[in-house]
Amino acid sequence: MKPVFPFTAIVGQDEMRDALVIAAIEPRLSGVLIFGDRGTGKSTAVRALAALLPDMAAVKGCAYACDPADEAALCDACRTASARIAHRVPVPVVDLPLGATEDRVVGALNLERALADGAKVFEPGLLARAHRGFLYIDEVNLLEDHIVDLLLDVAASGENLVEREGMSLRHPARFVLIGSGNPEEGELRPQLLDRFGLCVDVQTPTEIAARVEVVRRRDAFDRDAAKFCESYAQAEAELRGRILAARTRLPDVTVADEILGRAAEICMALGTDGLRGELTLLRAARAWAAYQGEDTVTMAHLRHMTEPALRHRLRRDPLDDSLAGTRVARAVAEVFAA
């Protein structure tokens, strides 16, 4: 396998890296949206994250990599199987390319079997492959509408319903959605924006020193990838350990009423739609606290996650181009000062 540029070797972009790590700790946040220019390391970070995460247990031979320990979430084949053998597989990070057809995303009749022996066999698509892992869409704002519709439905229900070409079946498809794009090139539908738990803005580093460091590390990686990865092996292992520890700690992280109140306050101040903003904000704050190795959520944790959890939820007026980030920052300053 081709070596992957290590996650810990990415220069700067702390907000993006933290958001990705938090999404890996708390999959229920359901995704990260990364907005920014080209060449800011978005794709690099997503691919590096996959290499960083520890392997997971899966049912051997299952097309959806079902979790043998999670009885409720098994696919039909696994549920009825007499014996389930577990093995370790890497966490899938599946690319959804822009031009992907509905067939490839949802799955379709297996052409080979249909044409060669006339059998009706389902060929799982990208959604099946992304189950329990990450689905990455570069330039998500250019994605065709009917693919977006599909994604919205599957992301909401956690299962993929196939009713086509004479087939009728369903299979689990729970994944963390990671989208990246440049907002200057097209808008995202509010419904799709809402599916992403966190939203980060990445900027091209403007400091020369940072850019030099990017070029230096990339150059070292291009010239001898194995040696370069080796020099980051320890940092990678440490971060992997922190993620695992945070996942274990997460269910026990407590949130005081005072924090809940403050979260509600800030959502009111910003006028976010519905309850999803609050819920996401609290989940993100808990995951952040767990990542920091703490058992209770503090105001600082809440404050830290407010921008990424809320900045994409208040673009209600398309013509108001005052940066959403600024509005959130202002509201944060007011609410937390009180």
Binding site: G118, E144, G186, R218, D219
Partner: protein, 567 residues
Amino acid sequence: MSPFDSFDAPVPPPLSDSVYAAALLAIDPGLGGVRLCGWSGPARDLWVRRMTGLRPEAAMRKMPVGISDDRLLGGLDLAATLAAGRAVYGSGILAESKGGFLVVAMAERLSPGTAAHLAASIDAGPRPIFIALDEGIGPDETPPAALLDRLAFTVSAFAANDEAWPTPSAIAAASRALNQIDCTPETMQRLCTLAALLGVRSVRAEIFCCRAARAAAALRGGKTIEETDIALAARLVLAPRATQMPDTSPPPEAAAEPQTETQADGETHDKPLEDKIDDAAAAVLPEKLLEALTANLGQRRIVRGAGNAGAAPGLARGRPVGARPGQLNGRARLSVFDTLRAAAPWQRVRQRQAQAPKRIIVRTEDFHIRRFKEQARRITIFAVDASGSSAINRLAEAKGAIMLLLADCYVQRDEVALIAFRGVTAELLLPPTSALARARRALSALPGGGPTPLATGITTALRLAITERRSGKQPLLVFLTDGGANIGQDGKPGRAAAGRDALAAAKACAMQNLPVLVVDTAPRRQAFVAELAGTMDARYVPLPYADAARLSRAVQAAGGPHGRVAA
């Protein structure tokens, strides 16, 4: 360097930039590829032939613009599968051209989907050297940005026919020497500073620049990267990506001391960027670049994400709406289920006729292809009279109405474009976009004043509408004017000629059969504006006392964002 150059190695004759680009790319395929701007012709053909000749062992493949995904990436070969009765797989052109050259024809028409596949192959392999032929006209027709960002070079002037190119053996030797050449931190520092000066945003540019400088050193036969290599790399990689003019006035003392590892102490961070430049900065900036930049400054070239090919409605994209019998050609996609269903009743008959029994016999006449309904994206083109008389009359109201329409367009996710005409020209203030925040900025910055070049305004808007229609969109033209034309098509003042020219332009507009709305912004109905609308076959809306909301409703009635265009 050849063994004959023993002592005083003569400097090899300098090559032209397009040859350097080819040579560096052949030495280090990690540079991704090159974008060739220019129309097809002997000079371009020769360049491609010589470029591919630099690596004679590498094959050259050509990719048509409307390539299907299975030919690009590989997949089941349907015809062979049916003939053989077992699955036959074809490899895609990307895998087949790995390690060779892939010529991408009409790159400016690539669909974003195809470009995404090409970009992914550059990132992860299999990777050929891409030669993207860009025949686009103007800043609106460019290859998808995702691809451009991953190609190191842009070549727009081709080498003279008699220029001597490096030999394949020289290229091979340089290629082998590549890994021995170090790129020092100082060199990286220089390159990054230059990039920052030129307003280059993507960090990929600097990474390419670093590789290009190394390849340039290898081509020279040098062991280290020298000044000339840096200059060459910056000229080839950074200059075409520049978005701003550097401040080239050399700072008094900075030239003397080269930047060393003083980054860590934090002091250099505080200095303004200009102080960090050494003299080479000005030297590596080609003169033409400076000219071009001065001309373009302020209107940054907008790279739109989407190309246009593959938009042939009906067969390739959109929502599936059933299948019909048909042949697999071009972009048509087979509907397997319907094909098998069509074949089913004939199985017995065919089995009897067949020499060797097969499970299932499908013939080409059974083929059903899928049909898709593609919703044509609408684009509303506003042409606003921003002349002095209009400014007094209704410019503010017109702006308000457009704002309302923009909000409607957002709901529909339509595109908008904004043209303003005043003085002697019409200016495309906002190229077609669906990023509406930008539309709003362009509009609020719209100045008023000067005479009215009505004919030029109509022609410019019409030209844009035709271009957009050709790329599969549904244009709607909205003119807002008080009709006081006083500048002719030729830019000369004179009311009578200006009026005649405007009517002639209106006639040309009528011949295109586009939905048009003409809004009269004068305080009282202007007979001339009505005549203009009549000539255009347009809907005429006199709105002397209109408020913005009423104007917006009128546009919708004419087929704007909410109305449907009957044509």
